[in-house]
């Protein structure tokens, strides 16, 4: 498992296979585990057990450019008591999916604070996606798509509304993250295998960033 953003597991010289660490964050009961379970196993549990600490699973997606991205998904516990553990999980993550519940405005507020925390403390090149879950509850929606979308655009986040229950857009979240990462990777981060010149540059950038923060 990769433990640093720069040690991205890239196998083969053709760079057709990538392995990334993805962390799911968000308030309690917004559906992080349900999204993960839907994505990984295609299942949905009406009564999903509370996550203790975190759950771990892997799933691969095919990108449109022919590459395969394997996600190591860390599905974290959303309860506040686990907040202090979160850095253990997003440390070294290449991407994060911050989940909120569209039928609960407070979870959107919490999602914003997760985004802030990630921008402040997570690896600098981390791809962040904002996912509004429980789209099937749109009749009791409290967070409008426009509001969330605007927030996402403002903070350069990917944005998808999805429903783990109906399977709407769930795979889309991960596919869009997967599509976003390699580009981001090529542009900024350095894979383990090659491109030493860009690696040097990027490490410098990283250092600079750490200093200013």
């Amino acid at each position: 498992m990769a433990n640093r953003p720069t040690s991205m597991a890239v196998s083969g010289n053709n760079r057709s296979f990538f392995q990334y660490k993805l962390v799911l964050l968000g308030d309690s009961s917004v559906g992080k585990s349900s999204l993960a379970l839907r994505f990984v196993r295609g299942q949905f549990q009406e009564f999903q057990e509370s996550t203790i600490g975190a759950a771990f699973m892997t799933q691969s997606v095919q990108c449109s450019d022919g590459t395969t991205v394997k996600f190591e998904i860390w599905d974290t516990a959303g309860q506040e008591r686990y907040h202090s553990l979160a850095p253990m999980y997003y440390r070294g993550a290449h991407c994060a999916v911050v989940v909120y519940d569209i039928s609960d405005a407070s979870t959107f507020t919490r999602a914003k604070s997760w985004v802030r925390e990630l921008q402040r403390q997570a690896p600098p090149n981390i791809i962040i996606a904002l996912a509004g879950n429980k789209l099937d509850l749109s009749h009791s929606r409290q967070v409008s798509e426009e509001e969330a979308s605007a927030y996402a655009a403002e903070n350069k986040l990917l944005f998808v509304e999805a429903s783990a229950k109906t399977d709407a857009n769930v795979k889309l979240i991960f596919t869009r993250v997967a599509e976003a990462i390699p580009k981001s990777d090529a542009a900024t981060a350095a894979p383990r295998s090659q491109d030493t010149s860009s690696k040097t540059v990027n490490l410098g950038e990283e250092d600079n960033r750490r200093k200013c923060c």
């Binding site: 498992m1 433990n3 009961s29 549990q45 009406e46 009564f47 057990e49 509370s50 203790i52 008591r81």
Partner: protein
């Protein structure tokens, strides 16, 4: 056929199921409380309290080079890491390089006391063993159990990538692990187990080559190594002395409790009584069953299906502390033979040998019961254990079905003054929510399913540090044990109704009407319309495990409606909805024609705790049926037995 002694009857009196649930739950969570602390929550504690927790011997560094730990959880994880490093430093460093942290899964292991790692039945067995062997401090057992679980994965750990290791370790339940091995090597004889590992590591390279770092080529040695120490263990089992429980008064789990043995002990030595009765009555089956399992393992046969699952946990809960002078005196006089009435002080005084003997004997008893059920299952797909047979195995040897859990619970949460066996007094006490000794708390407990962080103020020294869902989950296991106890009680009552209900006919009608056996007088405190209870073991015919969908149906007519209403936290005649503190809840009420489900749902923020069937069936018939089953009641017929155990895949309905 033996009938339960009065002590046993008093101990198993269904009137006290809720007390027992509360007491067990409270004690378990007391002991686990330190592990829920974070740095932040510790910082908020008064300095003295914080120091008391962190200075506990359980949370000390292993050596002088290790800095003090931030939290008890970190301490246990680090100690486990030390043990693991000692087992194989190279394997550990290899894993550590890959960012493999024990904390990832140990959080769940330790905070939930392994209750998600095994099926509910097996969890109860494991808990019984832990509580018996380590009545005052569970940390030692927790470390050792965690270590044993961890190294059962050593093939995966050494061969696979870290990602695969995590996949294996973080997706319980661990069906491939025999609960009996966990109990033997993690709880009862951990030191022998680790000693044998140590000896092996000093042996010639052929065997130490099992060490992961030497690469895949050496891996074939590993299984033989394991078989090797298993056979050693088997050889030394009966003579070896198990680890002494590390009794620590500084243990945070024990703080705030009365520890005056004189106040609690009714006298007599339960430990001796247990050991004597367990050994004298039936030494062979328990040990034979154990050694059979051992030999199976030595032969490389996966015991998880061959023997492990034929044990059924009958974890019953006694009336704790016996709480009355009259029953105290009788228990002291009869503890040698029956011994079901225990107190925490006695439990704490249990010698390890006695613990093990009692556990062995209990296992044997369970094995016998399992065999009965297995035979019955072979004759027809659906097992209906008749009152007669259920009662017979339960009463054959009362002391061996004696619950370990019950004695852990130490103390009744209710006032001793309500010791009167009169229902009216008891009900009065229940309805007296201003009662000083925990009545209100118990009510909270039932209403919230333990969900409220403030629901049980008596012992919750740090309410903010309680985790709603986890708390409820641990409680749920305790409650499941109590359900089994209810079944036992019911079965015991049936001993006086053998003639009328020994013949059980159509299993289907049986399931629909557990009262088909007819009316008979139940022992003591019989209500106006007693009915014989029935224990139904329901199994698919193609299942290896006759207990995987255990339905323990107990007629609880002896319990007044008010009593149960209190227990379930509902107003009579209404369905109850447990609501979590933050109001985010869903209610699930499952109804059957015969009674009610109590569901302890541990899903995130959908923790409905205890849901009950609308009470119309009760008010209509005046009959209570407590139905215990694993798995979702709605989907039970569609799900195979494995899925019923597969907790991550769905709700877990404990009742």
């Amino acid at each position: 056929m033996t009938v339960l002694t009065p002590d046993a009857q008093a101990t198993l009196d269904p009137k006290f199921i809720d007390h027992d649930i509360y007491a067990v739950y409270s004690r378990v969570m007391d002991a686990l409380l330190p592990l829920y602390h974070t740095q932040e929550s510790l910082a908020q504690l008064p300095a003295a309290e914080r120091d008391a927790i962190m200075s506990s011997p359980n949370y000390q560094p292993d050596d002088v080079f290790t800095p003090p730990f931030d939290t008890p959880l970190a301490a246990l994880c680090s100690q486990l890491q030390s043990i693991f490093c000692h087992y194989s430093a190279t394997l550990y460093s290899q894993l550590a390089q890959n960012d493999f942290k024990l904390e990832y899964f140990c959080i769940r292991w330790l905070r939930l006391l392994f209750s998600r790692e095994f099926s509910i039945d097996n969890t109860l067995l494991l808990w019984d063993a832990i509580f018996l062997a380590h009545p005052t401090s569970m940390e030692d057992a927790m470390r050792n159990v965690a270590f044993y679980i961890l190294i059962t994965f050593d093939d995966i750990l050494s061969d696979a990538s870290a990602s695969e290791c995590l996949l294996a370790l973080m997706q319980p339940p661990y069906r491939q692990i025999s609960i009996m091995s966990v109990i033997n090597h993690g709880v009862l004889e951990p030191h022998q187990f680790r000693d044998s590992l140590g000896r092996l590591s000093q042996e010639p390279p052929a065997e130490s080559g099992a060490n992961a770092a030497t690469g895949p080529a050496s891996r074939p040695a590993a299984p033989s190594v394991r078989r090797g120490f298993r056979s050693r263990l088997a050889g030394t089992r009966s003579s070896s002395a198990p680890a002494a429980p590390s009794a620590s008064n500084g243990s945070a789990g024990a703080k705030g409790r009365s520890k005056d043995p004189a106040a609690l002990s009714p006298g007599g030595s339960l430990a001796e009584g247990l050991a004597q009765s367990a050994l004298a009555a039936n030494p062979a089956p328990g040990l034979a069953a154990q050694s059979e399992a051992e030999s199976l393992r030595e032969l490389g046969i996966p015991v998880s299906t061959a023997s492990q699952q034929t044990y059924v946990p009958i974890t019953s809960f006694s009336r704790l502390g016996s709480s009355s002078s009259s029953s105290s005196s009788s228990s002291s006089s009869s503890s040698g033979s029956s011994g079901p009435v225990g107190t925490i002080s006695e439990a704490m005084g249990l010698s390890s040998e006695a613990s093990r003997a009692a556990l062995d004997s209990k296992m044997g008893q369970l094995q016998n019961a399992a065999a009965v059920a297995q035979r019955a299952r072979q004759s027809r797909g659906r097992i209906v254990m008749s009152n007669a047979s259920a009662a017979s195995y339960l009463t054959e040897e009362p002391s061996t079905s004696l619950p370990a859990v019950s004695r852990l619970a130490g103390r009744r949460p209710f006032i001793g003054a309500s010791d009167s066996s009169s229902d009216s007094d008891f009900d009065h006490a229940l309805s007296d929510s201003d009662g000083p000794a925990g009545l209100g708390q118990d009510d909270d407990l039932a209403t919230d399913g333990g969900a409220s962080p403030h629901g049980s103020p008596r012992d919750l020294t740090s309410p903010s540090s309680w985790d709603e869902v986890e708390v409820a989950e641990v409680e749920a296991v305790a409650a499941a044990g109590a359900a089994a106890a209810a079944a036992e009680v019911a079965a015991a009552a049936a001993t006086e109704a053998l003639d009328s209900c020994a013949s059980t006919d159509n299993p289907d009608s049986e399931a629909e009407d557990p009262l088909a056996g007819g009316e008979v007088a139940a022992p003591e405190e019989a209500p106006a319309r007693p009915s014989p209870p029935i224990l139904v073991l329901d199994s698919d015919s193609d299942s290896d495990d006759p207990f995987s969908s255990l339905q323990a149906r107990a007629d609880l007519t002896k319990i007044s409606q008010q009593h149960l209403s209190q227990l379930l936290g509902s107003d009579a005649g209404k369905s109850s909805t447990a609501t979590m503190a933050d109001g985010a809840t869903t209610t699930t009420t499952s109804t059957t024609s015969t009674g009610l489900y109590l569901e302890a749902d541990t899903s995130d923020l959908e923790l409905d705790g205890l849901d009950i069937d609308p009470l119309e069936s009760l008010s209509a018939g005046g009959q209570w049926t407590l139905t215990g089953r694993l798995g979702s009641p709605e989907s039970e017929d569609d799900v195979d037995d494995e899925d019923l155990f597969s907790r991550p895949q769905g709700r877990r309905s404990l009742f």
